[in-house]
Symmetry: C2
């Protein structure tokens, strides 16, 4: 499956959640499969922190690596491109084609850096809604994603219930726990501590790679679980025996150093910071007496909430709280807890189990009439 | 209770586990209570990563803060200074009075920095054994400690079973899991990434405080639990509402920044690195077919192993594996899992429960004859 990244630029300003404005806005996106006659088979896949619009397939015949969720998106897969028209767009605030802190600020002709405004999950969804209109789509059959992608799926249902027939929320939460905020903050501090960061003003110079690598290493620990690290690495040494030095001794150290370093070649440190803040700010219950209140305007959207037993970043108790709040509103919400050792990464890896659940869920959504019409 | 730190310098060289030598060696230590006639009431308390010899009491009448485990050590407390003669010494490789990387290397007249040799938990115990001889003690009634202190208690039983009547191992392990090694490695990388670290050569210049603060913040996250962070901070904001900036938004961020920064005022970055490596290397099963083999020479030492339900740094499954290995050797081992939300910090905080268990355990140890005599 060969796919091209497409770009659309909106020559207007987006009023952000913070009160600031951002514009013009470019969005990078990819589409897979064919839109049907009545435009009822469109699915939006939202990516996580370090993801991009390239969810599946290859960019060229010789491309060494497929998109980030190729196991789940394609002909006959969980998100079947023979049946559905699938859209994935890079979020604003990121660094993979959509407008973010590394983009040129048209007012100054220089990269935004820290003058880029804070963007939130609702802001990302709003930009995606512009793309939806641009594509001539009045509703999504489902909006889905894991981690930060799951937060966007939830936000779609809250912001545009009349355009969201269903939401599949994987390994996500309605609000980050203090432990997860703390982990994000330490990752940020690692970047701030790198003198090359220079308060975000490093474009055209040496970027803060050392700080970004440390930040990403923290991430990699949280994506795995105690059990999966024992399976994957144990206490295996890089060499035959202890070297008694500060060189890499254990395979797990080697893995982290490699992953941290590799990340700096493909990701912008400021974008990393902005996306971490977007997640911290995400809180559907913010300003409300309880989470249930967040869903009070929703009537017909169906929900599938999936958590993974060993995910300690967005643990199952959070998904259960979310489902409880949906049920308190009388909404149609299904909860599945998948038994997995893979930790938070399970949403990317446990695709066979996900495929079964997705097929059943989408069949139910498809066979239920959707009478809401939206003029775009 | 007013106490003074004492110092002893051994003008000889210690052959380290790595094969390197270290000497002369100074140890900082404190003692509490009175040694009885037959010298049978001595207890060694071993400190954790950031601890020191000052386990309890005050250094001056106006001292604003007592020692690090004052809740557990003192008249009538878990470790009752009216009954026992208690010794606590700063480990080698640290920075609180004992020989470590910030000490002057007598061969060069300059601080060791990274020319300081890697020290291990057995090396720390060996230096403590010199102190034991210096104090004229032939056996410890018990050796105890939490975290890295618990590793030393275990090592005492393995290295010197004939001088260790019992070991109380709290919130510790016989070998770090890959997840904990990974967390240590990221903390080290945060220090390495600070240009002020300068490969350990920063004494007399600006120390790598930014890197050390990040490293310590990672530590603080691992000392707490998801549940205790929810209780302690929740998603409470520093100000009334979101400021939508990179300033501190959440109380938990504020806590981490404060703690990270405060730590740099009292701890040496190189010592932090060396102690993290000592823990990584600790593995009683290293080179053996199984952990049980580590205890094969022990006959009379009794063990109390305590873990805490929400401790995810040294989780209960590790303590259970340890107890199984002790029992496989026919040893007298008691295991207690304390239900606590405090995470790894529970060993410092759940002192009431610990006091009960300690009293019962020590009574059993005291009333059992100890016929082994050691000439020192």
């Amino acid at each position: 499956m060969i796919v091209q990244t497409q770009y659309v630029t909106f020559e207007r300003e987006l009023r952000l959640h913070s009160g600031a404005t951002l514009g013009p806005i470019t969005l990078a996106y990819e589409t897979y499969g064919t839109l049907n006659q009545d435009r009822s088979n469109a699915i939006l896949i939202c990516h996580a922190w370090s993801g991009d619009a390239h969810v599946a397939g290859y960019h060229t015949p010789n491309d060494p690596k497929p998109g980030w969720w190729d196991d789940a998106v394609g002909p006959g897969k969980a998100f079947d491109t023979d049946k559905y028209f699938i859209v994935c767009s890079n979020t604003i605030g990121g660094c993979s084609g959509s407008t973010g802190p590394a983009s040129i600020d048209p007012r100054t002709g220089k990269p935004y850096g820290l003058s880029f405004p804070i963007v939130t999950i609702p802001d990302m969804v709003e930009a995606q809604r512009w793309l939806m209109d641009h594509l001539g789509l009045s509703s999504w059959l489902t909006v889905t994603g894991g981690s930060m992608g799951g937060m966007q799926a939830l936000q779609w249902a809250v912001s545009y219930p009349e355009r969201t027939r269903s939401a599949m929320v994987l390994a996500a939460t309605a609000a980050l726990s203090p432990q997860t905020i703390a982990l994000n903050e330490v990752a940020r501090q690692a970047i701030y501590a790198d003198p090359n960061w220079n308060k975000g003003d490093y474009y055209g110079r040496t970027p803060p790679n050392a700080g970004l690598a440390v930040a990403r290493m923290i991430g990699h620990i949280t994506f795995l679980s105690d059990a999966s690290m024992r399976e994957k690495f144990g206490r295996r040494l890089k060499n035959e025996k202890f070297g008694y030095s500060f060189e890499t001794e254990f395979e797990v150290e080697s893995y982290l150093r490699y992953r941290g370093n590799a990340f700096t070649k493909r990701f912008d440190a400021n974008a990393f910071l902005y996306l971490s803040k977007a997640m911290d700010y995400f809180d559907l219950a913010y300003g409300l007496p309880s989470l249930a209140g967040a869903f009070r305007h929703i009537t017909d959207t169906r929900f599938l909430v999936v958590s993974y037993t060993s995910d300690w970043l967005y643990p199952s108790w959070q998904s259960k709280e979310l489902v409880r709040a949906l049920l308190q509103n009388g909404l149609d919400a299904t909860y599945v807890e998948i038994d997995s050792n893979y930790g938070h990464d399970a949403f990317l890896l446990e695709v066979d189990r996900l495929a079964e659940i997705t097929r059943d869920f989408l069949k139910r959504v498809e066979t239920t009439d959707w009478r809401i019409t939206v003029s775009i």
